[in-house]
Symmetry: C2
Subunit: 251 residues, 2 copies
């Protein structure tokens, strides 16, 4: 956390390839594929109740995604950018015929054994879930547009995580198999979206300091995903696991 | 969490006394005096490192308080209200002679053995601390003014908690005794502030539905305090403790 705005000031611009490597490094250190909650999930060690808690809380995140994307869309004065970005809203909200990502997530929640209306009401989510998701909205609303776009770059990493997850879910939680349509769609959508967003930030960040802001925005977004799992782990699983970069007690 | 806006619609207005009782009930159920992190603190069971983590994270909360109060002040068109409310900003920021609450908190952090600059930099806080505090700012920025004011009503309960805490700190962590000036000041400030805020909301909430919004705002603020301790407990202490009202796994 904190002010990083001066980092990179006066240094040479990174090439697109080097920028991509720097973003991948953030992913390897901070993306939530490493979070103990996901490790337990992929090892088949979560109970049905724990998967319910995950599906119910993450529904809140999923249902904010088109709002986040509409904020980003609203901040661009470039019709070409807006035409490209609106795909994301359609992907999540559907188009009246094809079911969108939010409804598909609801199907996953139902496959865990939860009633759809209970999930849709959002009444039982952890407050910390709402705070983390609202912080995502704060970021895309208040930071420069290229940073808002950069915060979506966790999609650079999501395909691999989703492929692994689908495999492990079919193996360990076969009763969930009928609820995986959300992930199925994301296998294709996420890499397309990431490619567009990367292209955008790599042309819009015109100084090394701006490139550092791109990298920081991705770090901040990783923290938002991580914190949601921390809250789940604390409420529904266990121990003491400060997120990357946070204060650690001296041993 | 969730939409409570219709609660109380068409029902009779509560008297000021009954409203106060309803607020006290929220406090007894949700205020953070019950949080396991505070229970450990008051039993003398926290290590110096755990108290450092607490002081360092809560510094982020303390330093946002005058920002929160300035947002509230900025939203009132009543000079009398603004004159009364600005006292809070002075209490926390100081006046050039008397040290304000933020600096006093820094003294507490130093008494735990942390370097003031390290705390002031905010670099090592838990992301979840920032999300919870920023949600407090979201609330006072976006909800009707009487709800923003109502969110300060945790001060109805803080005097008792602070008196207990000072007593237990002197008993269990005598090396902290030189850092308690923040709490000393709050013993008097908090009840004054709470009396003003209660008077304001009890005259401004003109329907039962609005009174229910007052109660909900206090609940939401309690959740914000509670979530900060959850994050500390998860990162630096232990188990599984869903906050009041959140999903619970069926046993």
């Amino acid at each position: 956390m904190g002010n990083e705005s001066l980092r990179g000031e006066g240094e040479a611009l990174l090439s697109a390839d080097v920028l991509r490597q720097a973003l991948k490094k953030v992913g390897s250190e901070r993306y939530h594929h490493q979070h103990p909650f996901h490790l337990l999930m992929h090892e088949g060690k979560l109970s049905r109740g724990q998967l319910q808690a995950w599906a119910l809380n993450r529904y809140f995140y999923q249902s904010a995604i088109p709002v986040k994307d509409a904020i980003i869309l609203s901040r661009s004065d470039d019709a070409e950018f807006r035409r490209a970005w609106r795909k994301r809203i359609i992907d999540h909200d559907g188009d009246g015929n094809a079911r969108g990502g939010i409804e598909k997530w609801l199907k996953l929640a139902e496959a865990t054994g939860l009633d759809a209306e209970r999930v849709r009401s959002k009444q039982e989510i952890l407050p910390a879930t709402a705070y983390a998701v609202n912080e995502y909205l704060n970021i895309v609303r208040t930071r420069p547009l290229f940073e808002a776009v950069a915060s979506s770059l966790t999609e650079l990493f999501s395909r691999d995580l989703i492929a692994l997850r689908m495999d492990r879910m079919r193996q360990h939680y076969p009763w969930l198999a009928g609820g995986l349509a959300y992930f199925e769609a994301r296998l294709e959508q996420a890499p397309e979206d990431a490619a567009f967003a990367f292209e955008y930030v790599s042309t819009q960040a015109k100084s090394r300091a701006e490139q550092e802001r791109v990298i920081q925005s991705l770090r901040d977004k990783c923290d938002i995903l991580w914190a949601q799992l921390d809250a789940l782990y604390f409420a529904y699983v266990q121990p003491g696991w400060p997120p990357p970069g946070a204060f650690r007690i001296e041993s």
